[in-house]
Symmetry: C2
């Protein structure tokens, strides 16, 4: 079966999962050169992160530096990185503290590791903010319930529900105070904005490269400080070159070669993060100007992932023959995809990486739909 | 950095890791359509193996059937599948029995799961065969040492060292007799030859699709019988659609779309396995005919992965100015790559998927090198 995705690729895709993972022409060229199964392993000498051609050995060193950490490895994604840290740090029954805005896979990874999850509540409607103080409260709760501090704390740097940028450094300070190792999930930040793990007091940083570094999947990064690197990247007793927690090699695919190609572009693009935030804010302002639309999460937003409550569009479903699907269809007609079909009460979108002209075109589409069908 | 792999792709690559993972034009077309990070998730409704466009939901059903098992999921590779089974079936300290021809990642996965590994010895030089009887002996050893049968047994259907095809069905019978769940690693068989898991009495089957199904990495298959599927594919307590052991979704990349494209070709190619074995046998016979070359492993070979002991070539290193590297260089000059640079005492290669003309050309190259430089 030939699978063509022309439509989705040609359209403006506003799905927040997709905007940071879009590939450029250079990455596509590399991808086309490493399609065959184990092609990246042509010159393997036993371990993925030591391969010299393509220069993956150099890549992992560069990635550690880029993330402000001491050591790094490729993983198969952010969730796989989270599990690797949890599986290293937690025994079944141990307590882990995670923010309640976390991705489901954070919870599932903890569940797979047999850990007991303590949620850090957010501030609720409308900001849904995770405050450092709430971490302190949850640490105290764990202390009083179990008699000991949690074995690990995880913070989602920017969450996928509200696009809230959390104050990682302040959470890190509280972790230091309680001596709780601190894992920062940067799936929605690293590759978009500068992330300096050690400056944020993180012990571990996980990255989703197919979400944030403009490469094909599946690939991520797991970085650690010197203090933990040896334990996290412990070697097999029988195979002294092989990382146990990584099962030897992880992203043994063209994605690793693509990340080499992508990294210089990513290093450049994070310098322009302010402009990306400016686009997101402009878009929110315009949308709210249509009336009966409200951005949820921290205001003004500090990220391209935007969650909007949209009674304006929901109202239209009452009389439109396509019911809740009208918005998806109307956007599609205008070359915009990535909204969940049927969603009108609220939706999420991302403005990341689009030109100002595209951002204006996107807003124009929503405006036109609201004017044609609303009121 | 633009990474071009033209050389390796244009050459005849005899690396056993690569021959079953080579992609055809149709798969490449699909790959080119799914380069962007999360592109396969355009129409996700929450779980990878339920995605309808591209039809991954249908794929997993087809894969279960193709492998003669009741249920299947995509994984990120064979090793990730092995770990998922081990992590499900074994508590730290539990005994697992594995053949000593296994891939290193089998051992590392067991180590990661905290299991105690009992090796089933092979018959030693020159066949290095894993016999069913040796499983019985190792089960008895575990029984006498621990007072209980092992919690899991793993057999490498064809190993990566000698290309020995093990008698899975007979091992399966012994597993049934001792009531030991049986995990069959088909990284070097599924996708090349027909594998019917239930007929081989396997409880679990793991597959490496980037090694055996002609698709880009990283992707594999994990299949189970009805008896174990619910336990292996258990759902999160908080997210009832999400498989805990798979962290929700695994091969969330273009590789999943490629596998859809590849499957009809794979279903066809396994029917021609006899011809592949014939090519391997012909090649071995010709090579041995050069003198002072011996095929190790089961004779006549039943697989395309061939291990040759080659004093003939090793002798040449004594007088050649390139020392052990002469063979790699001489083959490279003739358009053949995939041998480990420096290896001359013995080497592994694969004849899989080459035409008879290519096979003859390959032998001709070795013959020419032997005649020009040997004796």
């Amino acid at each position: 079966m030939n699978l063509i995705r022309t439509r989705e690729e040609s359209y403006i895709n506003i799905n927040p999962l997709q905007t940071g993972g879009r590939t450029n022409a250079a990455v596509r060229l590399t991808a086309a050169n490493y399609v065959d199964g184990y092609s990246v392993c042509d010159y393997c000498k036993g371990v993925l992160h030591l391969i010299e051609k393509p220069p993956i050995c150099d890549l992992t060193r560069q990635l550690a530096e880029f993330l402000g950490m001491d050591d790094a490895r490729l993983t198969l994604g952010a969730r796989e990185g989270k599990f690797a840290v949890m599986h290293t740090m937690l025994e079944p029954g141990d307590a882990i503290v995670v923010d309640s805005n976390r991705h489901y896979s954070t919870y599932v990874a903890a569940e797979r590791a047999g850990a007991k999850v303590y949620d850090v509540p957010n501030t609720g409607h409308p900001a849904y903010e995770i405050t450092p103080q709430a971490y302190r409260n949850t640490f105290e709760q764990v202390l009083s319930e179990t008699g000991t501090v949690p074995k690990l704390a995880l913070l989602t740097h920017v969450d996928g529900e509200y696009g809230n940028l959390a104050d990682a450094c302040e959470v890190g300070k509280i972790c230091r105070e309680y001596e709780v190792p601190f894992l920062l999930n940067t799936a929605y930040t690293a590759g978009r904005m500068e992330v300096d793990g050690k400056q944020l007091l993180a012990d571990f940083v996980v990255v989703s490269a197919h979400k944030g570094f403009g490469v094909p999947g599946t690939i991520g990064i797991l970085a650690a400080t010197e203090k933990w690197a040896e334990r996290l990247f412990r070697k097999s007793t029988r195979y002294p070159k092989k990382d146990v927690e990584l099962l030897g090699c992880t992203a043994r695919s063209g994605a690793a070669a693509c990340l080499i190609t992508a990294l210089p572009y990513v290093k450049e693009r994070v310098k322009h993060w302010d402009e990306e935030v400016a686009k997101a804010r402009w878009f929110v302002e315009q949308m709210e100007g249509l009336g009966d639309i409200e951005q949820l999460g921290i205001r003004p937003t500090r990220h391209d992932l935007i969650r909007l409550k949209t009674p304006l569009f929901h109202e239209i479903t009452r009389k439109h023959r396509k019911k809740g699907y009208f918005l998806y269809r109307e956007l599609e007609k205008r070359g915009i995809i990535g909204l969940k079909p049927g969603q009108t009460e609220w939706f999420k979108l991302s403005t990341y990486g689009f030109t100002w002209d595209q951002i204006k075109y996107m807003f124009g589409a929503f405006e036109e739909i609201a004017k044609n069908l609303g009121g």
